[in-house]
Amino acid sequence: MSTIDIRNLSYSYPRQPYEALQQINLQIRKGQFWAIIGRSGCGKSTLLRALGRLVPDFYGGTLSGEILLKGRLLREWNAGKLYREMGVIIQDPEHSIIFDTVQRDIAFGLENLGLDNVEMRKRIARILDYFSLNELSHKSVSHLSGGEKQKVALAGILAMQPQILILDEPTAQLDPDAACDFMELIKRLHKEAGMTVIMAEQKLEMLFEMADKTAVMEKGEIIFSGTPLEQMQWAKKNNYPLVPERVKERTAHVNKKSYLLPPTEEKNVTAAGYNKEPYSRPLTANRDVVAAVQGVCFYYEAGITALKDIDLTLHRGEITALAGDNGAGKTTLLKILLGLLKPEQGQVKVLGYQDGKLAPNLIGREAAYLPQNLDHFFIADTVLADVMLNIRKPGDIGDIAQLWLEKLNVIKYSDKDPRILSTGEKQRAALAAVLAGNPRLILLDEPTRGLDMIQKREFGQILRQLAAEGRAILLASHDMDFVREYTDRVLHMQQGQITADKNSAESTEAI
């Protein structure tokens, strides 16, 4: 008998004309590892929310069909018993943690289950030990790194001892090392504790290695389900794009599961994060300096060093990446270039303007910034109006805006509120707004977050085109595959310092 049995499940969000889930049928057996894959906005998160009983409870809308957990309808389960069986981790660890200290947060679920103090202490001690979080147990959550926060969120769920673990893009906010560690942890839980795992994830290389089964979703439907090997054969036959190149290459000489490299070898390849020859093009033609930073230092209020002795030069027509773990100082450096933060020491010269004098006059015109959280970016109520805000050329502003919307393939959303678009669409709409101002310098903070492989490819090609037009681009990113494929140069940051400045190919090999 299946542990989870999904029968003809359909769901539509309130006031949405289309169904977010359409006639989903899936049988998940005990101890299986299911990978749910598909393009962003295809319904993966909605399916996982339905499994966690968050839709329709939290979002309203109409749900039809059935979900059975251990032969019993999901809606008939008492919440306490249900979440003892099933643990659900949502994308952003910031929102999964309720309390201020690690130990207290882990205890939260146990308090809700009504466990006595002795049992709570026993479970907390065991889970802290398993996750090697003992040293952090009394630490404030606000002082933890992204990876540590995600571990705490997982520990809080696992302390409730569920048999099923549901994870919605748990590594989306993590740097590559933290993501790798987290996936190793999930692998251990699956292998050692025999947990049933259902995971939606964009980092497919890691997921393909771990999964027993995959389900491919498109427009709310499951268009394929089977083993990863079957899926790759299906993908090849149907020309389905969402299979990592590295995994694809290995299918050329597969027999059963040998498409996977041994774990150690795999880890090296993943860390290197490349799948084909890196992007490289001669940069001798345009070497005009667009921005230069010399000896810049910046400290946070508590005296913590955010940036130390930063030297950096950005050239016209060059795509430069800032790589490094969370907290390495990437965003701080972008903000210094924009004049949002004033360095304690050193000099900043951007587009000929010295020491932050650029910001009041030319931001949005000569230099443009795309933040990590695109919801903060939009000002107007429609995509078209938002793009028009950035145009200051005399002439027909509407025509120029429409031209950029067409170029970035978001013209069909011009009358829509940009905040309701999908991540990829938002990204393109924001980029259209930025580019409509005709900037010479473009600064992007984690631009590939939330994008699927196809959207990343499209986005990378847009960047190349912009660089070819002579714009200087600086992007902060964790996504080493993207960096290698689409940037010319990588600056590695560690604890506020630039530790390496190499071309993309050298850089990813060096990692």
Partner: protein, 272 residues
């Protein structure tokens, strides 16, 4: 430090301060209360959080007080007279001046009390105060409490991004600035609602509200809590029955904030 008290007694104590601040209109008493509350803030976190809030609030307070003063047309005692282009002769009376100052000080006082509440009653403490009733009202209170520090950082981030874009749009005029506050507030409200929804989801996924809760760290009610609660409630009774008790005992309203502060100090000396 108020942190050493049970959250329930700390909440009652602060509630008492809040009621006094709300209903007292005497400038001298309000000034005394503000000074005492600033001292309590200082004891909690060296007034770090308060000084940040004050950077925004002080100009606003001065603006409101000044505006109020210019528009007020009551009073007997003339404080100052001057000529303003277009408006002609403007007279400032002492009564509205005192009233405006009192309202300004009251605003500072209320914000200072709210700041102590934020420092002392954390989201964790709210569970200790109301945890026995794990219903939607508690959920709401916890979410609201969590929102306060989060809103600060989110507002800053939205402000930064939008400033860059609006600066680019050359929005220097006051009218444009006011107009641009709309999208800022829309984005902030939207982000707040989304964040609340995600936190509520996370709480649901941890079986919150599924039955009777137990406590990992049960907060202990100590003698100092009884002392401070009784003192705060007595102060409140005296304040509510003011005309009657003032006549009977001859006390002055000045004494109430001093008693409140003193009770916190004395409670700190009591054995745990």
């Amino acid at each position: 430090m108020l942190n050493n008290y049970h959250p329930r007694s700390a909440a009652i104590y602060l509630f008492c301060w809040f009621i006094l601040a709300l209903f007292i209109n005497d400038l001298k008493v309000l000034t005394l209360m503000t000074l005492l509350v600033i001292i309590i803030n200082f004891a909690e976190d060296r007034a770090k959080a308060l000084s940040k809030i004050m950077l925004f609030i002080m100009p606003l307070t001065l603006f409101i007080a000044g505006f109020n003063l210019l528009l007020a047309d009551y009073g007997q005692a003339v404080f100052y007279t001057f000529n303003m282009p277009l408006a002609g002769e403007i007279t400032i009376y002492q009564e509205p001046l005192a009233n405006s100052l009192a309202m300004g000080v009251k605003l500072l006082l209320l914000i200072s009390i709210f700041n102590i509440f934020n420092l002392v009653i954390t989201a964790d403490n709210l569970f200790s105060v109301f945890g026995a009733y794990s219903g939607s009202a508690v959920l709401l209170a916890v979410l609201a409490r969590r929102m306060v520090p989060w809103l600060g950082s989110e507002a800053r981030s939205i402000y930064e991004v939008q400033t860059l874009r609006i600066r680019g749009a050359e929005a220097d005029s006051l009218l444009k600035k006011v107009k641009n506050a709309g999208p800022f507030l829309t984005n902030l409200l939207r982000a707040t609602l989304e964040s609340s929804l995600h936190t509520a989801e996370a709480m649901q996924l941890r079986a919150y509200g599924s039955g009777k809760r137990t406590y990992f760290v049960p907060e202990k009610w100590q003698s100092r809590d009884t002392f401070i609660t009784l003192t705060a409630l007595t102060v409140l009774v005296f304040f509510i029955c003011d005309p009657f008790l003032a006549e009977l005992t001859g006390y002055s309203v000045f004494i109430l904030p001093i008693v409140l502060t003193g009770s916190q100090l004395a409670g700190g000396l009591l054995k745990q």
